[in-house]
Structure formats: structure tokens, C-alpha cells
């Protein structure tokens, strides 16, 4: 009966490497919490017991970009900060993804101003945009699930090793 009964015997499943790898990848996306302003508070709420981002395997927020797969850009990005965001993104190992959390990161939001970047997709490749000002934690979880769906469709050969020179990291 049930799974235990099956596991008593020897067995096997057939699948593809890509399916296993992408399943493993999407089930433990480690976020880099790029909390720049008020969206960060909602991002923190998403990790608390009520919303519990751990259900999706993303509870491990790492404050070093070298251990992260996903950058959650949560807050207003100014032109001055854009240099920092891009630099941290460049330090994350491939493969990597980006969630633009909230109106400010997606389009500049209410800051239609000379100092604020009108959408971070002008200097970062964004995978998922999240609406809201700030988005509720459910909305961030929805963005994460959307991203998981996207990661689930990837194949290992989508991310081939590239020399550091191509990544413009060699001089850093």
C-alpha cells in the first residue's frame, strides 16, 4: 500500500537528465535579496511563517551573490544604485534569474524623475515582473512560482560554460 510498499522492492523510473536537473534547479532557487526600499519589507514578510517562502524551496536568502541563483530586485533603483545592482548581478554564478519586484523596478513607478531608472530591464535581463506598490507577499510567491515554471522548461544545454571574458568579469 502506498509509497512505502513500492519502495520495499527494487524499482526504477525513466526520465531525462534535463527533467531531473531543471526539477532540482527550480525546487531550490536561492534568492539574493536586493532589498533597496519598501518592497524589501514585503519580501521579508514572504519569508515569515504566515507566507513561508520555504514551501517553494527559496528560504535560503544569501547575502553573498556568489551563492545565489535569483536576484529579487525589491525597490527603487536610481542611476547611482544601478551600477551596484549590475555589479552584484555580474558576481552571481550562471545560471541566474531576475525578478523585478514592484512598480519602481519594473517601470520607475511613481518616481518619474531624472534620478530613477525607468525600469531595470534597461540594464538587467528580467525574467518576471511583479505588479504592486509594494506587491503583497502572495504576489512575490506568485512571481516565484512563475519563475519555477520557466526554469522547469529549461534544458541543461541552455547554460553552456562561457569564458569569463565574455561575462566582462575578467578585469574585476
Amino acid at each position: 500500500m502506498g509509497l512505502e510498499a513500492i519502495l520495499q522492492k527494487d524499482g526504477y523510473v525513466t526520465t531525462t537528465i534535463d527533467a531531473i536537473v531543471s526539477w532540482a534547479r527550480k525546487s531550490s532557487v536561492w534568492p539574493m535579496p536586493m532589498g533597496i526600499s519598501c518592497c524589501a519589507i514585503e519580501m521579508i514578510s514572504a519569508a515569515d511563517p504566515k507566507y513561508d517562502i520555504a514551501r517553494f524551496g527559496s528560504e535560503v536568502m544569501r547575502f553573498t551573490p556568489r551563492q545565489c541563483d535569483l536576484m529579487i530586485v525589491a525597490g527603487t533603483v536610481t542611476y547611482k544604485m544601478a551600477q551596484v545592482v549590475r555589479r552584484i548581478y555580474d558576481q552571481m554564478p550562471e545560471p541566474k534569474w531576475v525578478i523585478a519586484m514592484g512598480a519602481c523596478t519594473s517601470s520607475g513607478g511613481m518616481y518619474r524623475s531624472y534620478s530613477v531608472v525607468q525600469g531595470i530591464d534597461q540594464f538587467l535581463p528580467v525574467d518576471v515582473y511583479t505588479a504592486g506598490c509594494p506587491p503583497r507577499p502572495e504576489n512575490l510567491l506568485n512571481a516565484l512560482m512563475t519563475l519555477q515554471e520557466k526554469i522547469g522548461k529549461t534544458k541543461a544545454r541552455d547554460f553552456q560554460n562561457r569564458p569569463l571574458v565574455d561575462l566582462e568579469l575578467a578585469q574585476n
Binding site: 542611476y79 547611482k80 544601478a82 551600477q83 545592482v85 549590475r86 555589479r87 518619474r112 524623475s113 531624472y114 534620478s115 531608472v117 525607468q118 534597461q122 540594464f123 538587467l124 535581463p125 565574455d166 566582462e168
Partner: protein, 164 residues
């Protein structure tokens, strides 16, 4: 004696010819002084035993856009002895956009003057470290001037290198 009357009387006695205007609008006393007298006036207000304006709370500027003398520099100073905040204005009357720094009197004016320089391009002579504050080094414009467009000047602030 009334605090305002005391201040006005004392300043008039010492700076009578340089005092351009005294206004008392909505309970805010404001003195307009000739530009070259800003440091002597500040020195007097700070060190006079009856006044003791020992704290500089703000330095900013006004861009009048269409007027001939385009910029006015505004100071807010506070006296704990009188429990009174005084506003001082100084009109910049030529094209140099410069005024003497008051950092020698109030250390707190350092960053206020840097901010005013960053936003309006007013040069504070004898400021110890007149660099940009909010905008990046090398930025060529002054955002709070009236002729600066709201969304900035395209290309004036560089993006980081774009992803492949």
C-alpha cells in the same frame, strides 16, 4: 523685549547699510542681507552674547528662473538661548553664482552647502570639500534648476554595461 525686535534692532545697529529687507511673514522673521556680508552677519549672530545663534539648521537656495538675479541662498539658524529660528536670505547679484561659505562658523553647513552646490550649482567660496553629494561625480547639470527637465537629460547618467 520681544525677541524679534531685539534681533532686528541689534542687526540694524551693526549692519544697517547692508540689510536689504526685514520681513515678518506668518511669524517667520527673515533678514535679507547683501551677499558679501553673510559671513560677518553670521559671525555676529553666533557670537553676540544676547543672541547666540549657535546652530545652522539648513542651507538651501531658490531659483527664480526669470529674474535677473536668478539665485537666492537661504539659511536657517537657531538660537537655543532665545528658542528662536531665524531665516537669512542673500541674493546673488552677478553671473559668478558664488557666495562665501559659512562652514567657518557652523560645521553643519558643510553638507548643506554641498547639497546646494549639487542641486543648484552655487559655488561656496572657501568651502573645505565642495564635491557633488547626490549626483555622481562628473555629472554636468544641476537638477533643481528650473530649466532642468523633470526626466533629466538623456545620456547624462550612464547605465552599467548591458547584459549580452
Amino acid at each position: 523685549m520681544d525677541v524679534k525686535a531685539l534681533i532686528v534692532e541689534k542687526v540694524k545697529e551693526k549692519f544697517g547699510s547692508s540689510l536689504e529687507e526685514v520681513s515678518d511673514f506668518r511669524d517667520d522673521l527673515c533678514l535679507t542681507i547683501k551677499r558679501d556680508q553673510i559671513v560677518p552677519l553670521g559671525n555676529f549672530l553666533k557670537n553676540d552674547p544676547d543672541l547666540q545663534f549657535s546652530m545652522c539648521k539648513d542651507v538651501t537656495a531658490i531659483d527664480w528662473a526669470t529674474r535677473k538675479n536668478r539665485f537666492t541662498v537661504v539659511y536657517h539658524i537657531h538660537s537655543f538661548k532665545l528658542n528662536f529660528t531665524l531665516r537669512i536670505k542673500a541674493n546673488i547679484t552677478d553671473e559668478s553664482n558664488s557666495i562665501e561659505s559659512v562652514t567657518s562658523l557652523w560645521k553643519s553647513a558643510d553638507w548643506y552647502e554641498r547639497e546646494t552646490y549639487d542641486m543648484y550649482g552655487i559655488k561656496f567660496v572657501n568651502h573645505p570639500d565642495l564635491r557633488r553629494m547626490y549626483m555622481p561625480e562628473g555629472f554636468e547639470h544641476y537638477p533643481l534648476r528650473k530649466d532642468f527637465p523633470l526626466l533629466g537629460i538623456p545620456g547624462s547618467l550612464p547605465f552599467p554595461k548591458k547584459a549580452e
